[in-house]
Each structure stands twice: as structure tokens, then as C-alpha cells.
């Protein structure tokens, strides 16, 4: 019973991680670098959602859409202005540059909104109980939002022309270039979608916790871990990785103090990578 509850809790936590983890892995697939600026875009999404929900009084779903849109737009602009020129210098420089970018954006949010904790103006519900296993309606909603978004992304990548060209660039940039796919357009698109997902993920986390400028920074390591465990560059991998990290952390409570959660998460990563050096579903070397 206890184990079952832990697994349910882990799946709930993992689904929320999956949304931004997909963003991280999508950028990696197409642009070939780990974009740590994801953290600040989660913060931006959380605050955009706050403005939509509390300042403009929009309902939750509309606020989530707003969070996606704003974070996505900031993602395109920051990529175009800051990160794109770095990509010529290699993926390490770009990744480190993205950390500097995330500090800049986080502090821009802090400058505008301050540090004080905030919360969305949404009601809170008690858990549902299914023969002793408790499930939170809010987290089910988050779960549903996450699953819908993931399904939309899959459909987009599998069935639309643009989606196909994104995959083409991810699979083989040289071949895609020869085929006349405009890599710049694809780069902007992937930045928009990925950072939009980060913003959405930021707001989903904010719904459960509090909103402050550190909201993205607090979870970025777990998200990075999820993407790596699943296999960087693989979108289904990001989902699997997020669930593995989520469930793994919860199950660790069976044997260790909760104060060791993070450490256990990393040890799990090490074990996965020992057997599958490119992550569970990762096919690429990088």
C-alpha cells in the first residue's frame, strides 16, 4: 500500500517534470546544446501566469496558455539575441552562456516583481481517495495538461511539415540543409515551443508551491537529470526519464531519510548511465 502511494506520488511529480524536460531535450535534439536558460523561462512562465491569473483575473487554463506564450516569446528573443551567436563557438560555450543568460533573466524578474512569495488565486481541493490511495485533483489536472501537451507535440512532430523538418534537422542537420530546410526558422520554432513548455512547467509547479524568482532554479537539476536519464535528444525519453526520476526519488524514502532525496536521484542516474551510457531511450552520442 505504502509503495503504491509512493509510486502514485512519484508519477505525479514526474509528469510535471516531464513538461520542461521535453523542452530541454527538444532544444538539445535540434540545436545540440543543453539550454540551462530553461530555468529562468520556467520562472518567467510562472510569473506570466501570475499576471494573467491574479492581475487580469483569467482562469487557470487561459493563464497556462499565457504562460506558454510569454515564455515561448522570451525564449525566441533570448535565443536570437544571446545564444545564437554562441553556437558557433561550440556547445560547451553555449551551455555555459545559457547559465549566464538564466541568471540575467531571473534577476530581471526579481527586479520587476521582487522576492516575496506569491500564489495563484485558485481554489485548492482535497485529495480523492481510491481504496486508500490518495490522488490530488490538482495534480490530476496537471497530469492531464501535461499529457495533452505532450500528445500535441507528438502529433505536431509526426504529422506536420514543420514538425517533420524539425525532426530532420535533429536527425541530420547537414542532410536537412541540403534538402533546403531553413535551419533558422526551425531554430526559432524549437526555441518557442521548448521555452513555452518550460513556462508551462513553471506555472504547473507554481500551482503546487509558491511563486518566486527561484522557482526554475530549484527544479532545473531534476529536469536536467530527467532529460539525461531518458536520453538527451529523445522526447519520449524525456517523459520516461522524468517518471524514473520522480518515482525513484519517492521510492528512496522506503530506505533512506527524506533529506537524502537529491543524492538518491543522482545515484539512480549513475546506475542507469552505467548500463545505458546514452540514457534509457537515447540513441545519439551527444
Amino acid at each position: 500500500m505504502e509503495v503504491l502511494q509512493l509510486i502514485v506520488n512519484g508519477l505525479m511529480a514526474g509528469t510535471i517534470l516531464a513538461v520542461p524536460a521535453i523542452g530541454l531535450t527538444a532544444i538539445f535534439a535540434v540545436l545540440r546544446f543543453t539550454n540551462f536558460a530553461l530555468a529562468s523561462h520556467m520562472t518567467i512562465g510562472a510569473f506570466a501566469g501570475f499576471v494573467a491569473n491574479v492581475t487580469f483575473g483569467l482562469p487557470a487554463v487561459a493563464s497556462l496558455a499565457f504562460a506558454f506564450l510569454i515564455a515561448g516569446l522570451v525564449g525566441v528573443i533570448s535565443d536570437e539575441l544571446v545564444l545564437k551567436p554562441f553556437r558557433r563557438s561550440g556547445f560547451i560555450t553555449t551551455a555555459i552562456g545559457s547559465i549566464a543568460l538564466t541568471i540575467a533573466l531571473e534577476n530581471l524578474v526579481r527586479f520587476i516583481f521582487g522576492n516575496q512569495l506569491r500564489g495563484y488565486d485558485l481554489p485548492i481541493q482535497r485529495d480523492w481517495s481510491f481504496s486508500g490511495i490518495r490522488v490530488s485533483p490538482q495534480q490530476v489536472e496537471n497530469f492531464v495538461v501535461a499529457v495533452i501537451v505532450m500528445a500535441m507535440l507528438f502529433a505536431f512532430l509526426a504529422f506536420t511539415r514543420t514538425g517533420k523538418s524539425m525532426r530532420a534537422v535533429a536527425d541530420n542537420p547537414m542532410l536537412a540543409a541540403i534538402k533546403g530546410i531553413n535551419a533558422n526558422v526551425v531554430a526559432r520554432l524549437v526555441s518557442f515551443v521548448a521555452m513555452g513548455l518550460a513556462g508551462l512547467g513553471g506555472m504547473l509547479i507554481g500551482l503546487d508551491t509558491t511563486i518566486d524568482p527561484l522557482i526554475g532554479f530549484k527544479t532545473i537539476l531534476q529536469i536536467f537529470a530527467a532529460a539525461v536519464v531518458g536520453g538527451l535528444g529523445s522526447i519520449p525519453g524525456a517523459v520516461v526519464g522524468a517518471l524514473v526520476v520522480g518515482v525513484g526519488e519517492e521510492l528512496s524514502l522506503l530506505v533512506l531519510s527524506p533529506a537524502y532525496r537529491t543524492a538518491v536521484g543522482f545515484i539512480a542516474i549513475l546506475i542507469v548511465l552505467t548500463f545505458r551510457p546514452r540514457g534509457i531511450l537515447g540513441q545519439r552520442a551527444y
Binding site: 511529480a13 522576492n115 481541493q125 482535497r126 508551491t209 518566486d212 527544479t219 519517492e250 527524506p258
Partner: protein
């Protein structure tokens, strides 16, 4: 957002130096006294630092309005400790070596205080802090440090008495991984056990996690009738939300700084139902707390705000008493104005007036009587308990 800024303080003080100070005559024109404030403005403490800064600034402004101290106005130099010991040490060195401040007020994280303290005592700079780790005052600080936060023993013993009086017999502790975690548990247990109560579960959780559902389930396995939380605002809010979802209606105790009114305003009222908070306090008849509340325009300020108020007041009064501005003068004179048989005063401005009459004073603060031991801990204090009713803090009792 903070309304008072360094710049505004400066401007206000400058205006005062030319107007209000004029009748005081010749000696009102001295160089301003620089006081260093090192508090978290970014990082994990970023939610608490600005509140403490606001409280300190309010006291200094009030003093400057009355003509300052020793005929000189107070000027604050604010640095951000980034809630990081390495960054905090660099900031402290700048305050000490460049701004030549005689004292530093406002460190929050215990690791930051322990890192900054050696820099302070080696350069004879006085340090006032809110950090809770018992090890802080045991450092060889030669008197250059005082802490207004009660020790784990003082706090947990008082909290234990409160829980017992509230009917807590089987208490569950759920606290953040922090230096005070273990000591708090021991003292709480030592208080409850002889009465027949017990600690039924003790969970230490990691900071920064988006949910503590499983930790709460683990805690509930002990079948507690009272929950004692011991964390900071961001994680306490997550705890309260998850406990509400889990349908736990038990009474919950929290540190006042973990659920200050501004934070309560951001969560649904039903989540904070049945929450009790405690903070160090002076006697019931002491107006210092009400004065602090009025100064910053808040009904029930939390423990950090009242302690910050007391640092600023102690700083001003010690300077006035010592008639000198230095870390050594602070160390040698601070106990002369805050304890003993002098006339009781409840604010810096009031104390300055009494001192000017040539009388001895005994400052009674917003966070307690402010009487310090040789190692810089408070001797004792009362505790002010509050009850959250419909999302608002209501005064419950003072013990």
C-alpha cells in the same frame, strides 16, 4: 516591493541634517555614522532579508528625524549576502575595509553568519544576527557578536510548553534540514516527555522540493495529534498545502517567520486554518512590539521583523551611550543599555531622550527584553503566540 530605499534614507537624512538638526546647533554637522547591513536579498533568504531591512531602515529613519545620534545622522550601507557564505564573506570585507562600518547587522543563514563572524571579530567589527544554529554563539567571537534569536533550548522548551497547553500529546515534528533541526527535537522531547507526551515521528526534509506528500504520509504513520513544523516560508507553504490536500485537520505549529502575514495572504484561507505561530517577545505591557508594527505599517509583524527592529535600536542606543562609534565601543557598551536597573525604554528615540537626561536605560525590545549572556545569546524572553483565523494572524496569548 520595498518603499524605503537606501537612497530615500540618504535623501531624508540629508534633508534632516539641514533642517531638523539646525536648532541643535554646532555639533549636528558631523559626518554620518555608517552602519553596515548584510542580509539576503537574493537566494533562499531573499524572502526574509527585505523585511528585516525594511524594519531596520524604519528605526534609523525615525532616529534621523529626531536629529540622529551624537549629533550625527545614520547612514546605512546595504550589501546582499546572496544567502551564500562565499559571496557573503566578500561583501562583509567590502563593508569593513571600504566603508569602515563599525558593525554589521542582518545575517540570516547560519552558514553565512559562521563564515562572516571570523572576518568581523578579527577586524573588531560588531555583528548582530538572527541565525538559529546553537554553534554560532559558541564561536570564539570575543564578544563581537550578539544574537536576538533564542537558542534551540529556549525556543523548543517554550514551544513544548505551548503544545502541551494546547493539548498536544503525540507530537510529530517535520522540519527542514538545518543546523537547528536535531537540537530542537531533543529539547522538545525533553519538555514533553516528563509530562507524559511524546514525539511520535520526526521527519527532516530537503529544501526546494515541489511537494512533500510522501514525507507527510510518513509523518502521519505515527498518528500524531499535533504537528510541529520547523522550516522557512517557501517550504512551509508547500507543507501546509499538501497537508490540506491529505485532509489533515490537526493543529499545526509554525515559526512566525515561516508564515508571516504577507505569505499568508498568498495562500487560500482554508490551507492556513488551525495554524499557530510563535515568536520571541517582551512582556505584555511592553509597547515595543506595537511601535515596531506601527513603524512598518503591519498588524502582526513576525519574529524577524521584531528582531531587526531591536538590532537597529540597540545600535543607536549603544553608540549614544558609548559616545563613540566603533566595534569595540559596541561590544563594551551594548549590555549597558539593554540590561540592568536603568529606566525601561521601548524605542531608540525614547532611549536617546532618556540618555540625554543623563539617566541609565534598559532597552526592552520588540523581540524580548534584549538581555544578553556573555556569549551573546539572549538570557530569556517571553513568547508571543498567534492563531491564524481566516488567513489572518490573531493574537492568542503571551507566555
Amino acid at each position: 516591493m520595498l518603499k524605503t530605499t537606501r537612497r530615500k534614507v540618504l535623501k531624508g537624512a540629508a534633508a534632516l541634517a539641514t533642517t531638523a538638526a539646525l536648532p541643535k546647533g554646532a555639533y549636528a554637522q558631523g559626518e554620518p555614522i555608517k552602519i553596515g547591513i548584510l542580509t539576503p536579498l537574493t537566494g533562499a533568504g531573499g524572502n526574509d532579508g527585505p523585511r528585516m531591512l525594511k524594519a531596520m531602515t524604519a528605526v534609523f529613519e525615525e532616529v534621523n528625524k529626531q536629529g540622529g545620534v551624537l549629533g550625527r545622522k545614520i547612514e546605512t550601507v546595504v550589501e546582499d549576502d546572496q544567502t551564500n557564505p562565499e559571496a557573503a564573506v566578500r561583501a562583509a570585507r567590502k563593508l569593513i575595509e571600504v566603508n569602515k562600518v563599525p558593525m554589521i547587522l542582518g545575517t540570516w543563514a547560519s552558514a553565512v553568519t559562521a563564515a562572516v563572524a571570523p572576518v568581523c571579530w578579527e577586524s573588531k567589527t560588531f555583528l548582530m544576527t538572527v541565525s538559529g544554529a546553537d554553534s554560532i554563539t559558541l564561536l570564539p567571537h570575543q564578544g563581537f557578536l550578539i544574537r536576538t534569536q533564542p537558542t534551540s533550548k529556549l525556543q523548543a522548551t517554550a514551544h513544548g510548553e505551548f503544545l502541551w497547553a494546547q493539548g498536544g500529546r503525540k507530537v510529530a515534528i517535520i522540519g527542514i534540514q538545518a543546523p537547528f533541526a536535531m537540537a530542537n527535537k531533543e529539547h522538545l522531547e525533553a519538555t514533553l516527555k516528563p509530562k507524559g507526551g511524546e514525539i511520535v515521528s520526526h521527519i527532516i526534509y530537503e529544501k526546494d522540493k515541489p511537494t512533500y506528500r510522501s514525507e507527510i504520509d510518513q509523518m502521519m504513520r505515527g498518528k500524531p495529534d499535533y504537528i510541529y513544523t520547523n522550516g522557512y516560508a517557501p517550504d512551509t507553504v508547500v507543507l501546509l498545502r499538501d497537508m490540506f490536500r491529505a485532509g489533515i485537520n490537526l493543529p499545526k505549529f509554525a515559526q512566525s517567520y515561516a508564515v508571516p502575514q504577507p505569505t499568508l495572504d498568498t495562500i487560500p484561507a482554508e490551507v492556513s486554518a488551525n495554524v499557530f505561530t510563535g515568536q520571541p517577545s517582551a512582556d505584555i505591557e511592553s509597547p515595543a512590539y506595537k511601535l515596531a508594527a506601527a513603524r512598518i505599517g503591519e498588524k502582526e509583524p513576525d519574529g524577524y521583523v521584531s528582531q531587526a527592529t531591536d538590532w537597529a535600536s540597540l545600535a543607536v542606543l549603544t553608540i549614544a551611550k558609548a559616545k563613540a562609534v566603533s566595534g569595540v565601543a559596541m561590544k563594551d557598551n551594548v549590555r549597558k543599555i539593554c540590561q540592568g536597573s536603568g529606566q525601561k525604554v521601548y524605542s531608540a528615540v525614547e532611549g536617546l531622550k532618556v540618555l540625554a537626561e543623563g539617566k541609565e536605560i534598559n532597552y526592552e525590545g520588540a523581540s524580548g527584553p534584549c538581555d544578553f549572556t556573555d556569549i551573546g545569546d539572549i538570557l530569556g524572553c517571553r513568547f508571543r503566540y498567534m492563531h491564524v483565523v481566516k488567513g489572518k494572524l490573531e493574537f492568542l496569548k503571551l507566555v
